[in-house]
């Protein structure tokens, strides 16, 4: 039992890194996703085409490979050598770029699902395009996209373990090390508990937000 609790203490250090990756990725990828979705829906065919390809590549290749490209790319492609301090930023950049693509498609589905009548009503009332988007469309989009966004957030929690590819010691890396050192399943079990509780909290929090937005249909 003591061993069990000592594992909790050990893994919670890595848990901080995991939470950091999670929070920073959301902070960057949620707004970036909105920009990408605008690019994806742009009237200009060249811009639309560029962002379609971006989304296609980001969704079509493994995240672990993208992390490696972000980390080693600057050296192999541009000959820029970066210090090992670049590991964590590389993880955040890789995750943000990848998740922005997924969020962009979620935003797009949300924005396109708003009835055209809402745009027309705003236009007739004289609201500008920015006002229409910020005051009329976006609030309704947020309500509609919450379930798929929650889905992505939960996937993100579990994906943080991929940071080991750049030897960032997050929680799961520690769990594996301890499991190998102690030849025990216990660290993995503790890791599972950490993930489950984290995801439970994310899902619970998002459900609360959804309930809060339930004042209209």
């Amino acid at each position: 039992m003591e061993y069990f609790f000592s594992l909790f203490a050990k893994l919670s250090e890595g848990m901080l890194t995991t939470i950091l990756i999670f929070v920073l990725t959301l902070v960057f990828s949620l707004p970036l996703g909105l920009l990408v979705s605008f690019g994806r829906m742009a009237k200009n065919p060249v811009i639309r085409w560029i962002f379609t390809i971006y989304i296609s590549i980001m969704r079509g290749t493994p995240l672990i490979l993208q992390l490696l490209v972000v980390f080693f790319g600057p050296y192999y492609i541009f000959g820029i050598s970066l210090s090992s301090d670049y590991r964590m930023p590389a993880v955040i950049i890789g995750f943000s770029l990848n998740y922005a693509a997924y969020f962009a498609e979620i935003y797009r589905s949300g924005i396109e699902s708003i009835p055209i009548g809402q745009h027309e009503a705003s236009s007739v009332l004289g609201l500008s395009k920015t006002q229409t988007f910020m005051r009329i469309i976006l609030p309704q989009v947020i309500k509609r996209i919450l379930p798929p966004v929650t889905n992505e957030m939960i996937t993100l929690v579990k994906d943080t373990s991929l940071a080991f590819a750049l030897t960032v010691t997050e929680m799961f890396t520690l769990a594996k090390q301890n499991a190998a050192a102690d030849t025990s399943m216990m660290p993995l079990l503790v890791a599972a508990i950490f993930y489950y509780v984290f995801n439970f909290l994310v899902a619970f929090g998002m459900e609360r937000v959804e309930k809060k937005l339930n004042y209209y249909h």
């Binding site: 200009n44 060249v46 192999y76 492609i77 541009f78 000959g79 009835p115 009548g117 809402q118 027309e120 009503a121 236009s123 007739v124 009332l125 004289g126 609201l127 006002q131 005051r135 009329i136 609030p139 309704q140 309500k143 004042y215 209209y216 249909h217």
Partner: protein
């Protein structure tokens, strides 16, 4: 020469700097490459290659966007009548887009002055529409529509489905762009036929001013579901007319009282019945204090029982001499309330005049057929 839009010029300068910003990067890689060659080290030429490949693409993209922007602006502002667009495109391709835009701006100003000089046929007319034409691809929806709406009058537009009534309303409310003809609201022209085959729209600022002159009530209400009824009414006056909040709310409450929904101010649209929602929509249009109010089949999405409430509201507005254009299938209502009726079929006005003449005693065979079929039901 006409004054030049400084904001646009500034934007062009910034974009040019960004464009030329790629040059130093390119030179840097050339330098790096040369040093590598001197050192007999050819390990990483990928960056060099990437840069070499990207530069032409970057320029292609820039040229394409630039010419698109210029072409779009020309299209919007109808500069074709003043010069050849190819000149502008060529100028923009050779990086002289600032000059192109300056010339365009000059042309635009002369176009704007045509709109400024507009004089209505009769200052008493709130709305004048002349020779309006609109087609979607090969399908001609409006052929040659002309009418005027004098101040304080109520006009009904009737006709079978697909006759172009809704498209006509959408052209007048800037939801669709007309192909040809003229539309004007009082002393402001919205669209003028400045060339043989098409019409040109007024500058954006004028269009925005015109938007303040009309209101539109939709068939399916289109209330904002995430806002309370009161907020639905105050949103546009606060954001567009910059009214102070207390004033906007006072006006909104007065309007809700007028349509009989004073107690629903804090309800959400989803808590209201269809008839109530439509009355809120009417109040929302009135909150912007329009000179003319358009109704696009306001009762078609409602139970027959609920249509009465809406028609009562429209009637009371007519008694206050609100100028209105109503697209409707309610013949009795059209006959009782309106001062003028237009019967449309297949994109043309088949018959028009006093409602009692047109509805009770139609002269045109098409009108007779339509009305007799309506009476059968």
């Amino acid at each position: 020469m006409a004054p030049i839009n400084t904001r646009k010029i500034a934007l062009c300068v910034i974009l040019s700097i960004i464009t030329f910003g790629i040059y130093p990067i390119y030179w840097y890689y050339l330098l790096v490459k040369n040093i590598r060659i001197l050192k007999n080290d050819d390990s990483s030429c990928v960056g060099e290659m990437l840069c070499l490949t990207l530069v032409p693409f970057y320029y292609l993209f820039w040229w394409y966007t630039c010419s698109k922007v210029v072409a779009n602006e020309l299209e919007n502002r109808g500069c074709t009548i003043h010069g050849n667009p190819t000149t502008y495109l060529l100028l923009s391709i050779f990086g002289l887009d600032i000059i192109a835009l300056a010339i365009m701006q000059a042309n635009f100003n002369s176009l704007a002055s045509i709109f400024l000089k507009f004089i209505p046929q009769n200052p008493n007319n709130i709305l004048e529409v002349q020779n309006l034409q609109k087609s979607f691809g090969d399908n001609t929806v409006l052929r040659d529509i002309s009418f005027v709406v004098p101040k304080g009058s109520v006009m009904s537009i009737i006709g079978p489905s697909g006759s172009g009534k809704s498209t006509l309303l959408r052209c007048m409310t800037l939801l669709e762009t007309a192909d040809n003809g003229s539309i004007s609201y009082g002393n402001l022209a919205m669209a003028l036929p400045l060339s043989d085959d098409r019409c040109f729209y007024a500058p954006k600022k004028t269009l925005q001013e015109i938007r303040g002159r009309f209101g539109l009530v939709f068939q399916n209400f289109n209330l904002f579901p995430h806002m309370t009824v009161l907020h639905n009414l105050t949103e546009a006056p606060i954001r567009v007319k910059k009214q102070p909040k207390p004033q906007a709310e006072a006006t909104a409450r007065a309007l809700l009282d007028k349509v009989g929904l004073a107690d629903k101010a804090d309800a959400y649209p989803c808590e209201l019945s269809g008839g109530q929602q439509q009355r809120v929509a009417i109040a929302r249009a009135l909150a912007m204090q329009p000179e003319i109010l358009f109704f696009d089949e306001p009762t078609s999405a409602l139970d027959p029982e609920l249509t009465g409430d809406i028609l009562k509201v429209i009637r009371s507005l007519a008694e206050e001499h609100m100028t209105m254009v109503v697209v409707t299938h309610e013949m009795k209502f059209a006959r009782d309330v309106s001062d003028y009726v237009i019967f449309m079929d297949n994109g043309v006005i088949v018959e028009q005049g006093d409602p009692r003449d047109v509805i009770d005693n139609p002269q045109n065979a098409r009108t007779q057929a339509f009305l007799s079929r309506l009476n059968e039901n």
